[in-house]
Symmetry: C2
DNA sequence: TCGTTTTTCTAGAACGATTTAGAAGAACGA
DNA sequence: TCGTTCTTCTAAATCGTTCTAGAAAAACGA
């Protein structure tokens, strides 16, 4: 049963292995009759076509592009923002009948060969929200795999599709400043293991996420007079936003505004308010970042970025030879909804 | 620069290729000093570790499991239900430092070698909501790749992790029957290309989705006296539910209840009602299936199934040798919320 | 009819690793 | 000192394809 290879089929039909290979890959290289005979015999023998690994080895094409995610893979799916990106990427991948290889960034020994990033048979890679200094990115680079990042890197030869994080956040900051907010809490994504049950204050230097840093800088730029307090409730997720907001709302010095560095966190914060009977935009301002689908029904003021297009653009750079642009800056837009309102006079 | 292989490194260091291979894979097979020397030289030469394809070919392990999705890959991500499954699966995959290969089910020639399912270098596969009769599943079977489905198959040797679709739907039907509903519209997922802008009536026989069929059967079982009208607005998605509900709400004979065969569709229906100033549970009953996170805030009555656990269980069967159970039935639960209410007396 | 082009097929060398069986030398116990 | 057991390393086979040349046969133009 097992062990049916190209060769087996070739022998059975009485032709050379090359011909069988051609029957699968280059139908115009042999007569239709023979091809049919080969395919029939193959089917009979239970041969399911050329082995994927062997083909990948010989032809140098894996037929898959890798996707590198921050955090645990399981977390990645909890943010519609990431999902949107993936959907856009998948769209293009589908077009080129290429698969998407989701690679977990296990914290295991990155030097040994046991890592997924090392093991993965991929032709190219999309780097999603992983800082350029991350070892996994280095491995990719060392392997000589073309990659496109969603962050603007420092190297001029690096490909990326990104937004101007600083400018985008500055718009948000200006909006808050105009509304009179000066006392602001920023919910940041903490990559580190968050052991405790409660959120904590974090230093700007502790932040491991490039995007977060840039957005905080942008906020400050947009509202130079404001005092930004950084709080983390753990990984980027609804629950972390909830936890972070709870921590802040139940403390003595409440801010007048809470900024979630992602919409999921901001929505978590809104939930914390709801539980406490507070109305976003009136009692306290909450704003987010990304404009995920859930932001609109929730009335969340946020920065819209074309996430799905971002995924598509990355896919094009990776797969479409017709695409020459290697560095793409996407537009962003401030979307004002009901969750932001004037700061109460103090 | 290019073309640095195991052999190159071996020659540079002055050892055999086997030893270099061992340096990466079996550190205890050679002296620490030599290993270090090899690794150093490799780094110097810009060798990034054993080639993934070659390794996969020789050792027979690809280090990845495939995930087969219905529909277009891009659609898959729009349903939190699918995302939840993926998150559970990713969790286990991560544990075994295995990657997830998302395979698009392109409608392209499935016989030729051009298909992703043919090409994919995977050790095993998770089949998510793809009917067992689908050609891609056959290919997987022909390739001898162990697979676990989310549908209960007919073959006793097939592995699956599923719920009792009929029983679950019957609970929902009973709930509706008790509330006095007899005139029910069911929003079903239509795999076929939905060309038109408007929803259409479909026949039971036209449905290509096993889950849908079973759920409809279950509904009927739970409410034997009811008249079920099947409507499709396209692929399984929010927009389709919206479209389907619009079609029904704007027609002459409105039902007293709408059943979305998935929560996303039910939520779409609720949106259609909201636009028309109708209140779910009072003016019209809407129920769903899955209990995705958005169902709770929306007040949607639905059937809860442990989707994340489903993903985990599939992962365990695929990757964990300690798992022996090959067929797992997951529990379901009727969650009554405000979107369902008594049928108006006619 | 004879060269020439086209079609159809084949031989044999890669592709880049892992694996098996075993050799050479060191360490060991008696 | 000698046989035995480890440790450390190697030679050669193998994984299952695809690819590059080129051969044999068929079709073609004049």
């Amino acid at each position: 049963m097992a062990g049916v290879t190209l060769k087996t089929v070739a022998q059975a039909v009485g032709v050379s292995p090359s011909t069988v290979s051609n029957a699968y890959n280059k139908p115009d290289q042999l007569s239709a009759a023979l091809r049919e005979r080969i395919l029939a015999t193959a089917h009979e023998l239970g041969y399911a076509g050329p082995d994927a690994s062997a083909r990948a080895l010989r032809s140098g094409k894996a037929g898959a592009i890798g996707v590198l995610f921050t955090d645990k893979l399981a977390y990645a799916f909890s943010d519609p923002y990431a999902v949107g990106f993936l959907a856009g990427l998948a769209e293009v991948a589908e077009e080129f009948s290429t698969s998407l290889l989701l690679m977990p960034l296990s914290s295991a020994d990155l030097v040994g060969g046991s890592n997924a990033v090392q093991q993965a048979a991929i032709d190219a890679a999309a780097i999603f929200c992983v800082p350029s200094g991350h070892p996994a990115v280095d491995i990719l680079h060392a392997r000589g795999i073309p990659a496109v990042s969603t962050d603007r890197g420092d190297h001029p030869d690096l490909s990326w599709v990104a937004i101007d994080e600083v400018e985008a956040a500055a718009k948000l900051g200006q909006h808050l400043a105009r509304l009179g907010h000066r006392d602001v809490v920023v919910l940041v994504d903490d990559k580190g293991e968050q052991a405790g049950d409660t959120a904590v204050d974090v230093d700007f230097d502790e932040i491991g996420c490039t995007d977060c840093e840039l957005r905080i800088q942008g906020l400050q730029k947009g509202m130079p007079d404001a005092r930004l307090r950084l709080i983390s409730g753990g990984h980027n997720a609804f629950a972390s936003g909830l936890k972070g907001a709870e921590f802040v709302l139940d403390s003595q010095d409440r801010p007048t505004a809470i900024v979630g560095l992602s919409d999921v966190q901001a929505l978590g914060a809104m939930e914390a308010m709801r539980v406490r009977g507070l109305t976003p935009g009136r009692d306290l301002t909450v704003v987010g970042f990304d404009d995920i689908p859930a932001a609109e029904p929730a009335g969340l003021t946020t920065i819209r970025q074309p996430i799905r297009d971002k995924g598509r653009a990355v896919g094009r750079i990776l797969l479409d030879p017709a695409t020459t642009e290697r560095q793409v800056l996407m537009p962003t837009q401030l979307i004002v909804r009901s969750s932001s309102g004037p700061a109460p006079r103090s």
